[in-house]
Symmetry: C2
Subunit: 244 residues, 2 copies
């Protein structure tokens, strides 16, 4: 059986990423502890680990809040991701086995089918996309890169997407970019793989930023004075375009 803080970490992380805990919302230790039927100790540790993943911000003697990011923070995350994942692609071109590359290619086949079948929820497509990037990061066989990407940045990306309920109008474009990357891996061309990955993510960054700007503008229109006590960020769930 797992240790308690670990379980709490994953449960809270899912709640945050899936928007069940809204950005800016306060995380009271006692309340959450009693809700999950544990003591404050393990829950406190879970919150600190969420802080390390940048999913919550804690101020000393004040408590923890779910992150409420702005455009700058969003850009920061994508820039860091561009650097790390570019390097991961470069390394993966040499480190991945033929079998791993083939597996990755098959994953893209599966994505193509999902898109063709038009499986309604971009929800699933997003998770599939994360899955691709997740596996490629793992393919670098670099524990530091894997940790930074999978444990920190990808969770934030998932949060961003859910927050915007962004649907990609060009999953086909993203898919073809993914295929190009896999092709570079097949040819063991690390330099090309890095270049393609960086362009891919730079594109995603621009899309995400414009989506955020739109959401911001929309929120400004339907503006209600958000109570400072429990400022539950106005959940603007309209459709925007994001390709990644």
């Amino acid at each position: 059986m797992e240790t308690l803080p670990e379980q709490l970490l994953f449960r809270l992380q899912e709640q945050i990423v899936r928007g069940e805990l809204t950005p800016g919302q306060r995380l009271a230790e006692s309340e959450l502890a009693s809700r999950y039927g544990v003591s404050r100790g393990p829950l406190r540790e879970a919150i600190r680990r969420l802080e390390a993943r940048r999913l919550v911000e804690v101020a000393p003697r004040t408590g923890a809040r779910v992150v409420d990011f702005d455009a700058e923070q969003l850009a920061d995350v994508y820039q860091a991701r561009e650097a790390l994942e570019g390097m991961a692609a470069r390394l993966a071109a040499q480190a991945m086995t033929d079998a791993e590359i083939e597996q990755l290619s098959q994953l893209l086949d599966h994505h193509e089918q999902s898109i063709a079948a038009d499986e309604g929820q971009h929800y699933l497509q997003d998770e599939g996309d994360v899955d691709f990037h997740y596996r490629l990061a793992a393919g670098s066989h670099n524990a530091v890169l894997v940790g930074m990407l999978c444990d920190e940045l990808y969770q934030l990306v998932r949060l961003f997407r859910h927050r915007f309920s962004s649907v990609r109008d060009r999953p086909i474009t993203a898919l073809s970019e993914h295929r190009a990357i896999v092709e570079a891996l097949r040819e063991r061309d690390g330099e090309l793989a890095e270049l393609l990955m960086r362009r891919h993510i730079a594109k995603a960054r621009r899309s995400a930023l414009s989506a955020f700007a739109d959401a911001q503008a929309n929120a400004a229109g339907t503006k209600v004075k958000s109570a400072s006590t429990e400022r539950t960020a106005t959940k603007s769930s309209f459709q925007t375009t994001t390709s990644d």
Copy 2:
């Protein structure tokens, strides 16, 4: 006044980086707690934060140990650093103010004087080098990059260096590389700054790896069966060359 886990974090971090706590050494909660005159709670939190910084490894229900890295882990850190710091240099070329760049340049002047004066301890030179990279990372004005580099990777690099007691036989080379980077910043050439920084760190990686290999060989010569109970990694403190 700061919070208790914060203080403990820094104190333990210094102890680890400076080698006062040797790689592989066990960190018993009760013992450390009584030593620092605190309870197990805050100390436990400090250890978890050290884990997030990759300075200790904790196994559930077994306890925490100071990291004992191998060549692979060392390479992983430098590769991640190459990616992140390259991006930081690129961003800094646009984000840093003229005053910040000038300040950085003056720091290098100070380094040059230190080298000319041959201030015995490469100790100080190392810290100066870290200072340069630290400030450049900050110059990116990207909170994610700063956090990943300053809080995680730089501490590990400091640990590596102390572990090898590596002295750089070419601090002049490193200095000229630093100057070239600053020059690129002055010209606001982000692309060049990234390229130079990546080459700079790649060079440092190769030096560190060969230094590690030498240390490994040396340790094999003076091999004593290290007690598994308190395996205090054979502190091989001989001179090697590392340029960074």
